[in-house]
């Protein structure tokens, strides 16, 4: 099969198995003699366990808790504040205390009910006052730009978002002599492996992690599975039997990581009708454990100027610790929160100055060779002006914007945004050090990487990439689900890095395979090589935070019901620059799906906690869009090849989620003629704004 242009779509390689029901997800596996694990959890938000009394266990039933941890009782996620099982301290409602394991679920249900725990309760903290990470950086004159100047000030708020993957979290595992093997619905096989090695205190050849088909992840299965994996591994080590630990939907919604709620305070100093200085104070709610919160905050702060160039900055942010469920990775990772805030801020500043918001934004648009917020440089062409022109042409934005200004309950909004592709700064070089292997064996070539296909089509796009470079039939390229016994650590499937970074290394390896193609069997291993130009200081937020940027524009048109204030999203138009599509149909699927999540983040998905308890704990109460709610979407791609990405590819996965919320919020703002300061813009919030306006 010879493809002229790699972007030309092919049928995805896993369609057959997924359509026919043959594809196996973790709950579809049955192991002989498999036991089930139920989790015992705290019923208070803060305090200590005084006594815990388990009912008498029938033969074949076990309790597994912190005393059974043979290694370090800490889940390996940057900070040492998440135990595998608590030793007694409780920091959030439903914190895991132990597992009860056995063959019959009826018995387990009864046993869990009869566990008696007495606590010494303490007053939980829900306010954002305990800052555990604080970052600050400035640019240009920093705070000096604000001295004695008039400021325009606005505050913004975003809420939880739950990943709501249709397949819940879980693992099954089994012992093999002195080795523990876990199969799970995960994004990062090596995150889990390294965490389990630490929790068991064993050598790395004693743990094997295999990815099962993943039914959606969106970041929710990035770091959280390490906790379940550690608990399960400890249990398997103790009991020496196969065990299944799968969360049902309610448990999953109540206890797994969500998107960090945020508060953003902006102040702007205006000179010559432009923002001369921007001050931002950002807060995110990390929940009870820090986890990845610092990295989420970093990304948010780096995105503080949006798609715009601003000379003088004073940017600070905090991760607050509260006694709520720990928050974590979700597609966008801090950028959706920040882009909502900055896009609305530009809109509101323009309105305050009596200027047209789009003109105002365009006059600030970042250009090639401009400094980024961290004094890096936008080295590659920035096609945003052309992309904006395209979206205006396709959507009729200007005419509609003018018309809806004079009408009630109709609105159209445009958001401009980017996503920094890959890990921040030198993360790839210093932390991940990705390795890939390509194995040629007779007429087949095996892709050996730890990248996980969670629906985004990695299996198809990588096989296509290698087949294209080697100029062979895609059927001869094999890519099995990652198994840490066979694949090197190419890094986690996160940060929109997979095609750009891992694909880049695979492409280099494939070129060497091509040169040696006459040899019958051999393995090529390649490691990540950081381009020289990437220099970044994490501590001072100075330098090139990302090697490349993908850019986007969303236009969203809405109608708001005059009686019920329900929002009807009528249509969207999007233009994206992701470098080069390795498969256009796959990219379009990502574009639709990401925008659907971004829109819903902006107007539909409501999740709140009350005294530390998540109030929307199932798919009935947590509202994600159905087919009835989805509007037609038009998407256009602009090619803008990136030198270091395979065939010019940059990051795709997260970009399309970033712009939906601000665009829909701006459209609603026009429709109701009131300024919007928080998302989701629910009918209840609209009623509040209209009544108080």
């Amino acid at each position: 099969m010879f493809l002229k242009d790699i972007s030309i779509s092919i049928n995805k390689v896993d369609n057959e198995d997924k359509c026919s029901g043959k594809a196996k997800y973790v709950a579809d596996y049955k192991l002989d003699g498999m036991l089930y694990a139920f989790t015992v959890r705290s019923s208070i938000s803060k305090g200590n366990i005084l006594t815990i009394e388990y009912p008498e266990l029938p033969e074949g039933y076990f309790v597994v808790d912190h005393k059974d941890v043979t290694g370090k009782n800490i889940v390996k996620v940057i900070f040492d504040d998440m135990p595998v099982f608590t030793t007694g301290e409780i920091t959030y409602l439903y914190e895991p205390i132990s597992l009860i394991i056995g063959p019959e679920k009826e018995v387990l249900t009864d046993l869990v009910k009869r566990v008696k725990i007495s606590y010494q309760e303490e007053e939980p903290l829900f306010d954002w006052t305990d800052s555990v990470i604080r970052y600050h950086f400035d640019k240009g004159e920093g705070l000096k730009a604000f001295e004695n100047e008039e400021k325009i000030i606005f505050d913004y708020e975003t809420s939880y978002q739950e990943q709501a993957y249709i397949e819940t979290q879980g693992f099954i595992g089994y012992p093999e002599k002195d080795k523990v093997t876990l199969l799970g619905s995960i994004q990062c096989p090596y995150y889990v492996k390294n965490a389990v090695i630490q929790a068991l205190g064993v050598d790395e050849d004693k743990v094997r992690i295999i990815q099962t088909t993943v039914g959606g992840a969106f970041g929710g299965k990035e770091e959280f599975p390490s906790l379940i994996g550690c608990q399960l591994a400890v249990a398997i080590k103790k009991i020496n039997k196969p065990i299944q630990l799968i969360y049902e939907r309610e448990e999953d919604m109540l206890v797994t990581t969500k998107r960090h709620p945020s508060r953003v305070h902006f102040e702007a100093v205006i000179k010559n009708n432009k923002i001369y200085g921007l001050k931002a104070v950002v807060g995110i709610d990390g929940g009870a454990n820090i986890g990845l919160s610092g990295v989420v905050l970093s990304r948010a702060l780096i995105a503080c100027t949006g798609a715009y160039s601003i000379e003088n900055l004073d940017i600070s942010g905090d991760v607050f610790k509260t006694n709520t469920v720990p928050n974590g990775a979700f597609r966008g990772f801090g950028a959706p929160q920040m882009f909502f805030a900055i896009e609305m801020f530009f809109e509101h500043v323009a309105k305050t100055l009596g200027l047209d918001p789009l003109e105002f934004k365009l006059s600030h648009l970042a250009k090639q060779n401009d400094y980024t917020s961290t004094m890096g440089i936008f080295r590659d062409p920035v096609l945003m002006p052309e992309m904006v022109d395209k979206v205006i042409k396709e959507s009729g934005y200007l005419a509609k914007r003018a018309q809806y200004e004079k009408e009630e309950f109709k609105g159209i909004g445009m958001s401009l945004f980017f996503h920094g592709c890959g890990f921040t700064g030198s993360g790839e070089q210093n932390h991940i050090k990705a390795k890939v292997k390509l194995k040629k064996d007779k007429d087949k070539v095996y892709i050996l990487i730890a990248a996980v296909d969670m629906g985004q089509g990695v299996k198809t796009s990588f096989r296509k990439l290698v087949a294209h470079i080697l100029d062979i039939d895609i059927e001869r390229v094999i890519f099995d689900n990652p198994d840490t016994d066979f694949v090197p650590d190419s890094g986690p499937t996160v940060a929109s890095r997979t095609m750009m970074i891992v694909g880049g290394i695979v492409a280099r390896a494939a070129k060497e395979v091509k040169e040696r193609f006459n040899e019958e069997s051999f393995v090529v291993q390649k490691q990540y090589e950081q381009p020289d130009y990437i220099k970044y200081d994490e501590a001072t937020f100075k330098g090139d935070a990302y090697p490349a940027y993908s850019w986007g524009v969303n236009v969203v048109e809405v109608e708001v019901d005059k009686d019920t204030y329900q929002v009807n999203v009528k249509k969207t138009w999007s233009v994206y620059d992701i470098g080069k599509a390795i498969d256009e149909r796959i990219v379009m699927g990502q574009a639709d799906g990401g925008l659907a999540q971004g829109l819903a983040y902006g107007y539909l998905e409501v999740m709140k906690h009350k005294q530390g308890k998540i109030m929307q704990k199932n798919m009935t109460d947590y509202i994600i869009p159905t087919a009835m709610d989805m509007c037609p979407m038009e998407t256009y791609l602009f090619d803008n090849p990136y030198a270091y990405g395979p065939y010019g590819a940059k990051g795709v996965g997260e970009l399309s989620l970033i712009g939906g919320a601000p665009a829909v919020a701006m459209a609603i703002e026009q429709a109701i003629k009131r300024k919007v300061f928080k998302i989701p813009v629910t009918p209840e919030y609209i009623m509040e704004l209209i009544d108080n306006g």
């Binding site: 329900q566 509202i623 159905t626 209840e684």
Partner: protein, 280 residues
């Protein structure tokens, strides 16, 4: 383990009811969720169960001069597609759940469940629906509004079964149902409103309003409606503010994970206002 009864005829069913204390399950879309246990475990019923969905006699839809009769175990989808059924009820069902839910859910279940947010109840109250209830020795007909006595409480004796829903045939000029949910399908209502009116020569011959999910049961006040009957349309429109006040007391929604009471109350009244404003 609890006992399960699976009668195939109505007679068999009534005999079982006469002799045993059972929980009645029709389609199961509510009961299975309310009583669910864990994956791979049977539903956690605490009492014996009587499954009535296999009784063909309870699945007929027919009419006579005055009424439409709907078997209590007809699927919502079958009811929705049957032209004998009043349009208002059919339109309401289209907004309920999803095709999968409509293929198994029943009115017996909706009524038996007596949820404050039950959508089908709203047009049924509006249309003065009756339920037929049978026991082995007795048949009685009760007005739906009297049959549902509170949240998940119905006037059903231990040995009785809801066998039919009976809807008086009426003609009217215009009927309207509005469900306000968090999304456009597969959703529990935050609130709902149904209205109908009959107009002749600019005079109201009949007018009815019902509100759902804003009190423990559907809100409908016939005595208030009667105050408007016989009035000219223009007169009624002039009374809008007064009419809204009539319902101040009865529209008593709650705060919950889906919405808040201010929104539910305000929007209920807005829908009523719009409905009246649009009478012609």
């Amino acid at each position: 383990m609890v006992k399960s009864y699976i009668p195939l005829t109505l007679d068999e069913c009534l005999k079982i009811l006469n002799q045993n204390e059972v929980k009645i399950v029709a389609g199961g879309t509510d009961m299975l969720i309310q009583n669910r246990s864990h994956t791979s475990m049977p539903i956690g019923f605490k009492t014996d169960v009587l499954y009535i969905s296999n009784i063909e006699e309870l699945k007929k839809i027919y009419e006579d001069e005055e009424f439409v009769y709907i078997g209590s175990c007809c699927s919502l989808e079958d009811i929705m597609e049957n032209e004998l059924v009043p349009v208002l009820l059919r339109d309401t069902i289209l907004e309920m759940g999803s095709p999968a839910i409509r293929h198994t859910a029943t009115l017996a279940g909706n009524i038996g469940n007596a949820s404050p947010a039950g959508d089908s109840l709203v047009p049924m109250y509006l249309l003065d629906t009756l339920v037929e209830v049978r026991s082995i020795n007795n048949v009685r007909k009760v007005a739906l509004k009297d049959f549902i006595t509170g949240v998940r409480r119905i006037d059903l004796n231990m040995d009785e079964l809801i066998t039919k829903v009976i809807i008086p045939k009426i003609s009217y000029s215009n009927g309207y149902f509005k469900k306000v949910g968090p999304r456009l399908s597969d959703a529990i209502s935050k609130l709902s409103f149904a209205g109908l009116y009959s107009v002749s020569n600019g005079v109201l011959k009949d007018i009815r309003f019902a509100f759902g999910a804003v009190n423990v049961t559907v809100v409908r006040r016939r005595e208030l409606e009667e105050k408007l009957i016989g009035k000219k349309i223009s007169e009624v429109k002039e009374m809008i503010e007064e009419i809204l006040k009539w319902f101040e007391e009865d529209i008593k929604p709650i705060d919950d994970q889906r919405s808040n009471k201010e929104y539910r109350k305000k929007i209920s009244l807005k829908l009523l206002r719009s409905f009246i404003e649009n009478i012609e």
